[in-house]
């Protein structure tokens, strides 16, 4: 019997249902069914895309609101001229690899303000948009020695590899990790919002902690072939690519929305076809925290 009232169509529950199916398929008789799990992963991807886009929209809305509030609080205290000078020095630094449209707009707001003589007037008469942006840039540029970028989310993120190319992109992947053995949920973040930040990569990467490695799942684990040389067991062919761990759980800690981070880069064939912000970061290394939980990950991968 199907009752449409009870059907949960929201992305979060779909994600958890999908993960449960994948988890259950481990103990299914006859081995894991590749076809079914592939289809489930499609649903997972669709649900996650929707979930991510909703989250980003919410974050962006929140951030806009915060910036407006910040402006209102501080605009009376600051001397517009000082602000302009600061921005003159730092805007050049800050507006590094502006890739997306939003960084461009950020920098766009800063540069004209910094180069014109009558910038004070500009700033004073600036709309609420540009002033908070200037402030934002200033905040970012004030902390070049930290390994953190202040993203527009107003939360610190650990910086990833310095070898970013614009093509690689940086992105804020909020992923919640479910350990299939201990059933412990950890929310991790890596990178930062590509579109919102325009701080330079090289400069701010100095104190970078060793970037994290994200785990890729290889669906070949559970169906190994005689011609492929497995490791000590057929299942432990995990390739650890990028895995980041920050225990910031501001965004959504409690509930169920569990994305096994292996699916963050798993099925790159599915993911890369989308024009979304999920790209694998290669050649990065585990942080200590990541390494500590690697054992649990191995067990999770072994399942597959």
């Amino acid at each position: 019997m199907i009752n449409t009232m009870e059907c949960a169509v929201d992305a979060q529950s779909l994600i958890s249902i999908s993960l449960r199916k994948i988890h259950n398929s481990r103990t299914q008789r006859g081995g894991i069914k590749l076809h079914k799990n592939l289809l489930v992963s499609y649903v997972l991807r669709n649900a996650r895309q929707l979930y991510m886009s909703e989250k980003y929209a919410e974050i962006y809305r929140m951030q806009q609101y915060e910036e407006v509030m910040t402006v209102c609080n501080e605009i009376q205290e600051l001397n517009p001229l000082d602000l302009a000078e600061d921005c003159m020095e730092q805007s050049g630094d800050c507006c590094g690899n502006g890739g997306g449209s939003e960084p461009a707009s950020l920098c766009g707001a800063l540069l004209p303000a910094s180069h014109t003589a009558a910038q004070s007037a500009h700033i004073q008469t600036a709309t609420a948009c540009s002033a908070p942006l200037s402030l934002h840039a200033e905040e970012v540029c004030k902390e070049p020695d930290t390994s953190f970028y202040r993203s527009c989310c107003a939360e610190p993120y650990p910086v990833s590899n310095c070898d970013f190319s614009p093509a690689n992109g940086m992105h804020c992947n909020k992923t919640t990790v479910l350990d299939l053995d201990t059933h412990v949920v950890t929310t991790v973040e890596n990178g930062y919002l590509h579109q919102d930040c325009c701080a330079p990569l090289q400069q701010c990467c100095q104190g970078a902690q060793t970037p994290a490695k994200k785990r890729k799942v290889d669906f070949g684990y559970y169906v190994t072939e005689p011609e492929e040389v497995p490791d000590f067991t057929p299942c432990k062919r995990a390739r650890f690519d990028d895995f980041s761990c920050l225990n910031s759980d501001q965004l959504d800690s409690s509930n169920i929305s569990n994305l096994i981070s292996i699916f963050g880069s798993g099925f790159t064939g599915l993911v890369s076809r989308q024009a979304d912000f999920e790209q694998t970061l290669n050649g990065q290394f585990c942080s200590t925290q990541a390494l500590a939980s690697l054992g649990a990950w191995t067990r999770a991968i072994v399942a597959f």
């Binding site: 019997m1 199907i2 009752n3 449409t4 009870e6 059907c7 949960a8 169509v9 779909l14 249902i17 199916k21 008789r29 006859g30 081995g31 069914k33 590749l34 076809h35 079914k36 592939l38 289809l39 499609y42 649903v43 669709n46 649900a47 929707l50 890729k216 799942v217 290889d218 669906f219 070949g220 559970y222 169906v223 190994t224 072939e225 057929p234 880069s265 798993g266 099925f267 790159t268 064939g269 599915l270």
Partner: protein, 470 residues
Amino acid sequence: MAGVGGGNDFQWCFSQVKGAIDEDVAEADIISTVEFNYSGDLLATGDKGGRVVIFQREQESKNRPHSRGEYNVYSTFQSHEPEFDYLKSLEIEEKINKIRWLPQQNAAHFLLSTNDKTIKLWKISERDKRAEGYNLKDEEGRLRGDPFRITSLRVPVLMPMDLMVEASPRRIFANAHTYHINSISVNSDHETYLSADDLRINLWHLEITDRSFNIVDIKPANMEELTEVITAAECHPHQCNVFVYSSSKGTIRLCDMRAAALCDRHTKFFEEPEDPSSRSFFSEIISSISDVKFSHSGRYMMTRDYLSVKVWDLNMENRPVETYQVHEYLRSKLCSLYENDCIFDKFECCWNGSDSAIMTGSYNNFFRMFDRSTRRDITLEASRESSKPRALLKPRKVCTGGKRKKDEISVDSLDFNKKILHTAWHPKENVIAVAATNNLSSLPDVSATLYLLAKPPLKNPPLKKMLGRR
């Protein structure tokens, strides 16, 4: 049915019901494949327990006119046993995924049956004579006590005996598939056949078991880049160099084995562009093709995805020539169907002998038939309650919304545990075999014969019944 038998509408009767009487169906009894042989005289079923049951049609007889054309158990044997792969710590299910008959070339019958990993060629032969009058052995086959007492020799003679049907495995084609086998198909050359798993298709020679040719391999170098799997494959009915395979993305590729040894590059690519307005979370799942069947003529092929059946002209790749909605009312229920796993059900479809009609199954033990020329369709139910012999089956209708009329069933009352996944149509006559959850119902047209097939219960091995049956 319009088409064979001419002119009359969709009128069907129950003929026989074969199955367990009680409601408790053992998991192992669930029928997993149904297949008529080339003449239609034999009907083979495979079940989840690895058993194959073959039914034979009764010959016409003046003595028993009412049993003309009835299908009775002919042979039962255990085709596959559960196995365990110690290297991967995986259990290999004994469930029979597919049965395919070979064309008959002598008195014996041959069929291929497969589970997830191993294909077997079975020979089903009759024995109705035995030699009697051995010199050294007595009637029971025991050696005579004192061979030195024999003073004269005699030639044993063949005496008639009660019919015995024996099934023996003649070939075992093993260890060629890493992934789960979903299809087998006998080639029109009657020498080769293909087997398909999720990522590879192999070509076998029926005589050679220790090697096969891999003709399609869609496994990506990096498994993380996997985007689609093979879901079904079939050889062309007349051109022995042509075969098709369908994918989980809703595409069909036709390959010509003359073009290259490895048919990774297709000759034709059939895909209907997706309607962007109907995009949902489950678009990929419902577009996955669960079955592909060539028409008898070889001009068309039919594919079944979750909600529809499509008929393709082999000469037109960009869209199907006909699309039939099987249960469009389920489109709004996809989320629930995903939760209870029904969305992963793999329905089969089949053509009638003249390719004028097609049939496929649905839920609530409903099955649907579509007449291609008149575009009429009908929904019938295979259930015990309505299975009065020789009574016409009443067409069913699902009410999708609004006021429910009398005799209609609302979508929410459908029983999604009762599903018809496997159906088969007699190659020449209007006789169909429909496998419901635990029953096997064979339904012909009124103008033809009336059948009801029942799957024999497990505790009563039909082995006893088939001896002496003629």
